[in-house]
């Protein structure tokens, strides 16, 4: 997808929303304008409070409605100087959606986010949009998701609804760059003769956008007794490349990163349980790739069946929210001798308290790996003034083995200061 062209088209439509002919504008309802200006800075705790992130964001949100039609646009300008070796200067038409609502259907065309699933912190079904991983998962998902151009239609039948997605925009996760604060190096196989020729990484092979390569999704949602349920299916692509490898003359290990197709089936639901709400979510994909052992010692990625599930429980009590969750991911009937773990389990906990008429929020999010003990703890205090200004001070604290997903950032503990003006 020619993103520059799409951006230009989108920008013109956005401008058209604002600078409409006077007579037409006079007859149309006014534009609803909103957004925010934010400065976010982070400081390494173990390194004399060296600045590790300094980001300024201006996001402008526009909405204009004509009867059953609505156009929404979100433009984001961002300037960040510390998170990665290169300064990030972004001007992005994040979202541009034309929506038509009728009595029985909603059709949304354009660049947008689609949010599936019910889990917090870790994603199982929330897989429609890829992620900007330059800050890994240590930001709000609304900011981390990369919106996609798509057609999104939902039909409503009483308490039930059927959603269909057609996604021609093949955009994948945007990982942190080498040298970035949260860069994760790929697990490369050893060279055939240690100390000699390092593996050679070819260019990533990404699919071209044509109808046979587009992503397609469908979701049913409805109620069954006290349960609210969804059944989801996505015929998509993996969000990041798989490193296929072969031995080339030299000898040298040649790595060929390719984005494979991925089919995902899922279920989610919630139901009152005791004084709270039980949330469940499960996914199955027959197209997950995991490295398995080979005779030449290089290993190779092999397609595996992967089952994941999560259980969570939300308990609101007075000004408190208490929300524990557990996650498990399991390779079913492994194909080959897995080089990594067959299963991974995580637990999360959210503790939140709102005070002073909701102006003061105290929040603690903790994520703990149960198999390879590692932890991310994120306490945060935030305060609002005048209904539009918010100041928050938080921390990201990591612990665990150096080869773990979180433990590798044990020397990157940081304080995060965020000042946001909403308008």
């Amino acid at each position: 997808m020619a993103r520059r062209t799409l951006f230009a088209v989108g920008l013109w439509i956005s401008l058209g929303m604002v600078v409409a002919p006077a007579a037409w504008a006079a007859a149309a309802p006014p534009i609803d304008l909103g957004g925010y200006l934010e400065n976010r800075s982070a400081y390494r705790i173990d390194d004399d409070l060296v600045t590790s992130e300094f980001r300024t964001t201006l996001q402008v949100e526009l909405e204009r409605a004509w009867g059953r039609w609505t156009v929404d646009g979100v433009v984001r300008a961002r300037y960040e100087t510390k998170l990665e070796p290169e300064t990030e200067k972004e001007l992005d038409l994040r979202e541009l959606v034309l929506t038509h609502r009728s009595r029985s259907a909603t059709v949304r065309l354009g660049r947008q986010q689609v949010i599936w699933g019910k889990t917090d912190g870790l994603r199982l079904l929330d897989i429609v949009n890829p992620l900007d991983l330059r800050e890994l998962l240590f930001d709000d998902y609304v900011d981390l998701r990369i919106p996609l151009w798509m057609a999104n239609a939902e039909w409503f039948f009483g308490d039930q609804a059927l959603q269909v997605l057609v996604i021609p925009d093949l955009t994948f996760d945007d990982p942190a760059e080498p040298g970035g604060e949260f860069y994760i190096a790929p697990d490369l196989p050893p060279a055939p003769v240690p100390g000699q020729v390092p593996p050679r990484v070819e260019r990533t092979v990404e699919p071209a956008s044509r109808p046979s390569a587009w992503e397609y999704g469908v979701r049913w949602s409805g109620q069954a007794g006290p349960w609210e349920l969804t059944a989801n299916a996505l015929y998509g692509w993996a969000d990041d490349p798989v490193l296929f490898r072969r031995l080339a003359p030299g000898p040298v290990v040649q790595l060929e990163p390719r984005i494979p197709r991925r089919r995902t089936l899922g279920l989610s639901g919630d139901v009152p349980l005791g004084p709270g709400i039980l949330r469940v979510e499960a996914t199955y994909t027959p197209d997950a790739y995991r490295d398995v052992a080979t005779l030449d010692g290089l290993g190779r990625p092999a397609r595996q069946k992967l089952v994941s599930y999560a259980l969570g429980w939300d308990w609101l009590r007075s000004s408190w929210l208490i929300s524990p969750q557990v996650f498990q991911e399991l390779v079913v009937d492994p194909s080959g001798d897995l080089l990594g773990e067959r299963e991974q389990r995580f637990a999360t906990l959210v503790l939140q308290r709102k005070l002073r008429q909701d102006r003061l929020t105290l929040r603690l999010f903790a994520l703990h790996g149960l198999d390879n003990p590692e932890t991310w703890i994120s306490p945060k205090v935030s305060y609002q003034w005048l209904g539009r200004l918010e100041l928050s001070l938080g921390a990201d604290l990591f612990d665990g083995a150096r080869d773990g997903l979180l433990g590798r950032f044990a020397d990157r503990d940081r304080l995060v200061l965020d000042l946001t003006l909403r308008f």
């Binding site: 009595r103 004084p275 709270g276 939300d314 609101l316 005048l386 209904g387």
Partner: protein, 273 residues
Amino acid sequence: MRLWMGVPEASALTLVVISLTLGLWAPGEVWAAEESPGRDLIARSEQRTESATEKTTYRMELIGTDGAVTQTRRLDVYFKRSEGVKRTLQKFLSPPVVESTGLLVEDTGAPVNDIWLYLPATRRLRRISGVEKSNWYMGTEFAFEDFEGYQIPYHDFTLVGDDECPEGGVCHLVEAVPASAEERGASGYSKKVYWIEAESLYPVRVDYYGEDGHRVKELTSGGLEREGDYWRPRTIEMRNLDNHHATRMVAEERAVDAALDDYYVTKRFLRSD
């Protein structure tokens, strides 16, 4: 004294306190068993005040301990009754920190209602347990259960006497005590006292008592005015007698029994930013 004033039937259905304007409504069935002056008065008050549809735009003021307004909000409240279910949807219009935040309550007549909260920051609908209806709502002095109607089947009502209404006139005082174990477990109140204004049968004041028996909150409705077949207050104020905060709601626009598409009381509308 004859209190029944013969309001139009189907169009003038019920009800209550703030639910008049904000809220959730008690089951629509007419209570017939166990006749008592208190229950009879409450049933007639309910019948006199509930419309079929309603949309109101409010200015909401959060008031601190010093009496100063700490935040002013605007919100739309939609109410519709259809197929035995009463749905109320609240959507905040301003200020920016709460814009598009919304709440949907579906009252099927059970003591515990289904509640959904939409937060634009996460773009997610979060279901809230109706069992925890005593929780505070959005930093206001209202709890979710304060938006409910009289919940007649689940309370015992006793007429305890008359007194002068806050804005003058005679009020009949009716004490409501949870009668079912489920209501006792879910409610944060051990008792409520409704001040029913004699002419309009509108509950112009409600005193709320905590589990330890002391008065914790006081709701007053002021500026009663006719809206078609119904009486509606212009202002509603909930005072928290423990923390000395208050929340005032001022009706700016109101449409009673006007055409209201089902869409405005659905999760679909709730999650439309």
